[in-house]
Symmetry: C2
Subunit: 270 residues, 2 copies
């Protein structure tokens, strides 16, 4: 019996040591990834930005430290505002890398005032697709990118595979925008389309990453999408309502990154 | 005694379970970071590139999965070749993010044929410095960037804090290039200089990241740098000799990322 106790004590001590070593390794990596998360957070736009009658806001909750989702919006000049929500295949470090490549790409595009391309979402998609195929990084991404024209009160957008379909609501009705092109970085023959939305009336417009579908109630895609539409269609809707109603407020672990991009136009004379 | 054995057995079982959970978490994160490493590797240039009389090669060994060092070289057009070696403060995920921002920035610069800037290392440095201060990502980097002019046989380079000093050797002599400007992303008032190297004679030129100093023998910086110069100054030198002689070949764990960029010019009529 004594022998057995001695062996158990030894094994116990050994296990405790291994546990400490493992915990230290884990802590080191986690600290490193937290640093990465902080940097990624700094690349996101402010939570809420108001430009004239337009208010742009977002919510982003990664499933690991780092996110494969990305969202951005910024003023191009006095007349135009650019916005996008992107979802890179997979999640974690390698997907986060691709979000950074994407942001750098789009930032540089606008900085270099590449006039040919910078007011055409369709052309940006075509260029991005070439870029991602060329780098052969084995990743693809879905992205919805739009340009708000404040003067003409319209939005020109292109949707490269971003799903679920975004929702556009005026006071009269809420509808899914179902027009879609292929994801970026999959095929060299992909064609991209752009569509116009009339923004003369007040509206709100919401884009989701597909992580929301994993936590949406219902078995079928249709049920899940309709749940979203019902949520969004409610009177007095805002992004916080969506976070609360979807249960995200109290969620600590997600199966996939969840992101919303929310655009709201309110006439100033209201 | 029986009670003690029972408790030990319980504690043992519990410890084993914790160990399994910890190992699984660690494995998951490591697998994720390995994916990140693969992506980062894909962004590096080929090990060796020959362009006319010039041969460019590199070696990069990260201290963690991901590297805060980065190296690249590519042909701008028939006449010019661009090369750089950069070292982002820290290492791991967040530093790796910055290397990706840097590569995207420089790639876009050349793609957009920003004529004003793309043949002046000094101007690239000034622009990069503004960029990194603007993003306020709390990271800085050192970088040596040069442009080889094949027609005029000269190299124009700028060194933003890259240390140890790079070494330039012709058949007659080996010397440290000690001219240096401040790192990128630290001060908005930083000024950058550029210098010319005459490449009419055959030469080799080697740039290091500071990780090499951690493993170089000797106590003082001077001893360490001289050890490097002696290694590099040897006849018939190539990058593999450096890897072997510095002991990197048999190293499994490094205190910091170690990178070399090696340029060799051999006249074709030799």
């Amino acid at each position: 019996m004594k022998e057995r106790t001695r062996k158990l004590e030894e094994s116990n001590a050994e296990l405790k040591n291994t546990q400490i070593t493992l915990q230290e390794s884990l802590k080191k990596i986690q600290k490193d990834e937290e640093g990465g998360k902080k940097l990624q957070d700094k690349l996101l736009p402010p939570d809420v930005v108001e430009i004239g009658e337009y208010e742009l806001s977002h919510f982003l909750m990664p499933s690991m430290y780092l996110s494969g989702d990305f969202v951005d919006y910024f003023q191009i000049d006095d007349r135009y505002i650019c916005f996008y929500l992107a979802d890179v295949s997979g999640h974690g470090v390698s997907s986060a890398f691709v979000t950074i490549m994407l942001k750098s790409y789009i930032d540089n595009l606008y900085k270099n005032k590449n006039k040919d391309i910078f007011l055409s979402p369709k052309k940006i998609m075509e260029d991005l697709n070439k870029e991602f195929l060329m780098d052969s990084i084995g990743k693809y991404l879905t992205i919805l990118l739009g340009i708000i024209d404040k003067k003409e009160n319209k939005i020109l957008y292109s949707n490269a595979g971003q799903f679920p379909d975004p929702i556009f609501c005026t006071e009269k009705k809420c509808e899914f925008l179902t027009k879609n092109s292929p994801p970026i970085g999959l095929f060299d023959f992909s064609k991209y389309d752009e569509y116009e939305m009339d923004c003369n009336e007040d509206f709100f417009f919401i884009v989701f990453s597909d992580g929301i579908l994993e936590i949406a109630p219902g078995d079928s895609m249709e049920t899940k999408q309709n749940w979203l539409k019902n949520l969004v269609g409610e009177e007095g809707f805002d992004i916080n309502t969506l976070i609360m109603e979807s249960g995200l407020e109290n969620t600590t672990h997600l199966p996939d990154d969840v992101t919303f991009l929310f655009i709201n136009k309110r006439s100033e004379d209201e």
